[in-house]
Symmetry: C2
Subunit: 316 residues, 2 copies
């Protein structure tokens, strides 16, 4: 039995772009867009909303910025059959660089923040809402946040006007019992909000933890085609839509897009389960060290990496 | 907090051998054996126990048979610090070809059967127990078994002397809620038995479902190094030991063995998540069709495979 409140947000281009600086050819982004429309996915997060001054255009692809002319190039002139979302990082977007919604193809802006940035994130999300957008706050790296800080952040969020708050497992460190505990806490402390979940696959638990979220009442679900995303990647969208019983969803367009666009990309850039990502997940660490070793010329020297990481954590 | 009753069974060679006809060089099997001893794993399932007449030796490696001289070549003369297990398939081992335990390095024989073979499996397991071995029955492909047949099989098993009964997700079709339901049923219907779990990773849920088993009171846990196994593979042992809190377990020896033996093997044979395996898992089908396409010259033609499988299932 499906739950009509559930919305699925595809983050293929936004989170996948963390692996190639968003340098996707237009036909890739267009095929993802079309397949998501056909599959009945609710939102496509097409990139980050950044000020041009924050990143050099020559190093980063269009989806680091999500300028309106770039969005238009993808969606064309037809009727838009999926909502578009962009993520905003604190400090990388000026208020003045956010157009009013009437001048934008974006429907939703998701503000990502660490716990100490919650107040700034609420202000930015309110600003986006005042400009006409739907807004969420995605509180990152909760696996590293102490109980008092978390309670305080949830208290601040509960008093805000932001209607959707995300539980984010940035490091892929959570087990399903952690999701049970945290989802229950978010729902209890944020009784008037919708809760979302965004998982990483360091311990092969992104899909399982997304299901744990669903069971606990989480209604906004992030996923990506074939799990593409930073490091070990995300919850695979094709698995999630196969699990959800909502008859509006179609899996076949996703399979087609994986065949045409994702498998060829996978030949060029790697994401997914590997021992370095597993180690950073188990040790509840940012994936930057594991990404560095995976991108180095010795990705298979995993014992040396394991020792380094264990020593690092033991000496904190 | 760890649960002392939990035992971990590594199936790297036995289940991994389904991908290469058990043609592992001795140094591979010896390194796996040593690393499992160092890691504190409870059992190593080193292969299948088969009669020589059941398979031609020239096509199958030693671990299709588990002859005593082959076992001796691996464990050497030192003290054995891990129990050895072999799996027996109904109809592929003659009673007379099973040596008494006093003449064997094996400690446990696990009898794999489908639901219609339960009586034969019980007789074989009793025979093994009478020869001095520990024994389990692994009831395969439960995701395809109707309720009345399952109840009858569990009734037969409850009346047997076999002390350990496995819940097996042969097709990687189960979600954690299925494991909750089935583990509770096995425990209720088999109150005097230990319950085990063996999962496949078609939907990236092998580890998550093993955890679901643990939470529900399952105490014998199957896993393999880096998830090696038929098709999408199994629950990764390095993830499972990282999760379990028993201080007797060590993860580092597993990482070493993955570096030395498993990653080089992965260059030659593929196992793990892919769309064809996901499709057979979602559709609750035997992985033979998905293995065939993965081993063909068109493993990336996944839309064609998806259509074939969906048509097949809809026309049953």
């Amino acid at each position: 039995m499906f739950r009509p409140e559930i919305k699925v947000i595809d983050c293929t281009v936004r989170d996948g772009g963390l692996m190639n600086k968003w340098q996707f050819p237009d036909d890739f982004v267009r095929d993802v867009y079309k397949s998501l429309c056909q599959a009945g996915v609710d939102y496509m997060e097409i990139g980050y909303l950044s000020s041009e001054s924050a990143f050099p255009r020559e190093q980063f692809g269009s989806w680091r910025f999500c300028a309106e002319e770039d969005l238009r190039r993808i969606i064309g002139d037809g009727e838009k059959r999926i909502k578009l979302s962009a993520m905003a990082d604190i400090g990388r977007i000026e208020y003045d660089d956010i157009p009013p919604r009437s001048e934008s193809s974006l429907d939703m802006i998701r503000v990502a923040c660490y716990v100490h940035q919650v107040d700034t994130a609420i202000a930015l999300a309110h600003h986006c809402m005042d400009k006409g957008y739907e807004a969420t706050i995605n509180l990152m790296a909760v696996s590293t946040v102490g109980l008092r800080d978390l309670n305080e952040a949830l208290e601040d969020l509960s008093r805000s006007r932001v209607p959707i708050i995300y539980l984010v497992d940035s490091f892929g460190a959570f087990y399903s019992e952690d999701i049970d505990t945290l989802a229950a806490k978010y729902i209890e402390r944020l009784p008037d909000k919708t809760i979302g979940i965004h998982c990483h696959n360091n311990q092969q638990l992104a899909f399982a933890n997304t299901i744990a979220g669903i069971i606990n009442g989480v209604n906004f679900l992030d996923a990506t085609l074939y799990g593409i995303g930073r490091g070990a990647g995300n919850c695979p969208l094709e698995l999630l839509l196969s699990f959800l019983k909502n008859p509006k969803f179609r899996v076949r367009p996703l399979v087609e897009c994986i065949e045409k666009q994702i498998l060829p990309l996978r030949e060029k850039i790697f994401w997914g389960y590997s021992v370095p990502y597993m180690v950073s997940g188990v040790l509840n660490q940012h994936p930057r060290a594991s990404m560095a070793v995976m991108e180095s010329d010795k990705p298979n020297q995993i014992t040396e990496f394991y020792d380094q990481m264990v020593n690092l954590v033991e000496n904190i």
